[in-house]
Amino acid sequence: METISVDVRFINPFIRSVHNVFKTMCRLEPRVGKPYVKVSEEPYADVSGVIGFSGDASGSIVLTFMFDAASKIATAFAGVPITPEHRDFADAIGELANMVAGNAKKEFGEGLSISISLPNVIVGSHHAISPSKSHSIIIVPCETDMGSFNVEVSMVMEKKSVAAKAQPVGAAV
């Protein structure tokens, strides 16, 4: 079993943000499983909301869903039925990803200048997001009463934060 170092500065803010966003906007309480390193194209997804980070920390966060969970969660978010055919389906998933990214960003450390991109949403049955050759993707599996989703985090600190201290933890893969 190989052990790699995972910087919790990048993972815990996303976990807290997922809780905050899903509880506030969807009235859902996500149950977060053990984060792990993505080593292949799996797990596949039907819908992926992607946000890029640039500046003192760079990388991306992807919220990935299967259609059924995405539809139910988007409906809970929007307050109206949102099927995958609905014109606001991708918009709702993109905005959820945007909120999770934005909320996590503030915890990366004061004094850091980090920008987030506008959301991109990939909709396509059983698509794959390949791990980068240079950066690890950490998958945070999440379960809700309306279905499961994953948060795929791939972040690199370009500049040391003055406020935040690195707290590496071991993650078994």
Binding site: M25, G79, D88, A92, G94, G102
Partner: protein, 126 residues
């Protein structure tokens, strides 16, 4: 009272529209970015604006600065995922009257709107 919602997410505009409706505001116009907002303003000035930060074509902070070049009084609320203190300060310096961080509850957004209109009314009558 005419309210303008400026956000590139139609889902968010719909949620905000529902909040405003619950508060009794039904005269609502929408824009998907800063450029569209300025065009809509030329057609008729709103009396309150809710403005997202990150948008295509023209972002919210640029829109706020452009509005404040010619209009110092219209109440502006930034509604955004940008939660760092530096961003809040930047927005206040640019001229927003209030700041609401996404995610928001119906109650928290409603409170920001009422607070802003209360302050704006008090300032106008002072």
């Amino acid at each position: 009272m005419k309210v303008m919602l400026v956000d590139d997410s139609r889902t968010i505009r719909n949620i905000q529209r529902n909040v405003l409706s619950q508060l009794g505001y039904t005269d609502i116009v929408e824009a998907g970015d800063g450029v569209e907002a300025l065009a809509r303003m030329a057609e008729g000035m709103p009396e309150l604006m809710l403005i997202d930060w990150n948008m295509p074509n023209m972002d919210g902070i640029t829109l706020v600065r452009k509005i404040r070049e010619t209009n110092k009084t219209i109440p502006l609320i930034m509604v955004t995922t940008e939660a760092e203190k530096t961003r809040v300060i930047e927005a206040i310096k640019a001229g927003v009257n209030n700041y609401c961080i996404k995610p928001f509850t119906v109650e928290s957004l409603g409170e920001k709107i009422n607070q802003t209109l209360g302050k704006a009314t008090a300032a106008a009558t002072a």
